[in-house]
Amino acid sequence: MEFMPEMQMHQPISVEDAVAQYSAAPNGRYLAGGSDLLVNIRRGIEQPDSLVYVNNIPEMRSITEDGERITIGGAVTLRELSQHLSVAEHFTAVTQAADEVAGPSHREYGTVGGNLCLDTRCIFYNQSEWWRAANNYCLKYRGDICHVAPGGKKCFAAFSGDVAPTLLLFDATVEIAGPDGRRQMPLADLYRNDGMDHLTLGSGELLVAVHIPKPTAAITSAPMTSAYAKSRIRGSIDFPLAGVAVRMAVTGGKITDLRVGLTGVSPLPFLAKGMDKFVGRVADESCLEEIRDKVRAGAKAMKTTTTPPHYRRRVAGALAQKLAASIL
């Protein structure tokens, strides 16, 4: 591990002050729980000169609810999220994903904002300085080739946060504050398919909150259920090799709603394409097998973990099938 760089800490108590402090020191970073950022700093892959600590900002620390939506502050911890009753009632997959992040002590201080803005991961990147130096670094940081796909100029480091794919199931939006004021956008638009630059946030932009609209009566005519599961190397604490979120409703034996969200298999979390075609189908074994195959085909994992990509594709499909069967 490397020494900590010289850094100045700011501890604002309002979103506006946080943005102003960041803007005054643009080589800084927002710090929430630090369970991702401080590890990266110690590995020498982040070297900020200042940190703006967001966990003392009351606006970002609570979960609130009205008839239409639930709002989760960016600095709410994963434990707080996983224990929230209304979230569990309406958005079970979100609760399950929050409860599957890292280990219990990480969830005590790891936040929702940090989880959604997590850096992408790769076995050639999440290594010590001397290891990366001995391998001539890589495209994502300081080097000029990608060891995963040496011919190309693209980085495939995988987004590996557990919560994002579950929020995508429910059309969550994120509230962003920046030097130009506030804006809202679909969570899906926070991400782009580029392991080197996977967030669309501009300099100094802060994720203040996530809004999840409550399901309207129209789409809940059949009880909609959701679930999340992940495959990982260490069963007790580990990032997903593949993480799968499923939302499904079945009426009279037929599927009336199906969405599948994926994480850990590409530089961004995403909803698997082609799930509409299962709507109207009888939810029998052959249908679940087709869902499995479709999810597997859409999970284009690359060699960014010690586990081979074909295993991660297969396990993504298998988890989708298993979750769908559990919802039936």
Partner: protein, 161 residues
């Protein structure tokens, strides 16, 4: 070097220290305060050896900047024994041989302490869950679980009598 005045309570004692903004809590505890009970295993959130309690909840001191603990109540393994008497968990780890080389023990004990404050009568699954982030390379975990159960039992018995 940017420095900040940090005021907090450590194991029941108030302190004010001028420390660098980039100082990790584990280094502050070990180097500045002299409390070397807390161990550094992996230095990166993987092993749990550095677990301390902040406001009664477990936290990795290797991934915590000390200046973010302003006004907090920090507790380490060094503060558990009272009047030369080991705490229930410390006695449990001793009686049940929950500690071999001892390197993981401070973190195991602090994570267990957080569990028992929340849930004085945990079943085995609850103990396993609470200690999921703490690695031990010696004991095989069975004796650690027995140690926590022992501590929970003697605490309840002491409270009842």
């Amino acid at each position: 070097m940017v420095k900040t005045v940090l005021s907090l309570t450590i194991n029941g004692t108030n302190r004010d220290d001028v420390i660098p903004d980039n100082m990790l809590l584990v280094d502050y505890l070990r180097e500045n305060v002299g409390l070397t009970g807390t161990k550094i295993g992996c230095d990166g959130g993987e092993c749990g050896a550095c677990t301390v309690l902040i406001n009664d909840r477990p936290r990795h001191s290797c991934l915590t900047l000390a200046v973010t603990c302003q006004d907090a109540k920090v507790e380490t393994v060094d503060g558990l024994s009272k009047d030369n008497r080991l705490s229930a968990l410390q006695r449990g780890f001793d009686e049940k041989l929950g500690s071999q080389c001892g390197f993981c023990t401070p973190g195991m004990i602090m994570a267990s302490e957080a569990l028992l404050r929340d849930n004085p009568d945990p079943d085995e699954a609850a103990i396993r869950d609470a200690l999921a982030g703490n690695i031990c390379r010696c004991t095989g975990y069975v004796k650690i679980i027995e140690a926590v159960q022992f501590a929970a039992d003697i605490t309840r018995e002491e409270l009842a009598s």
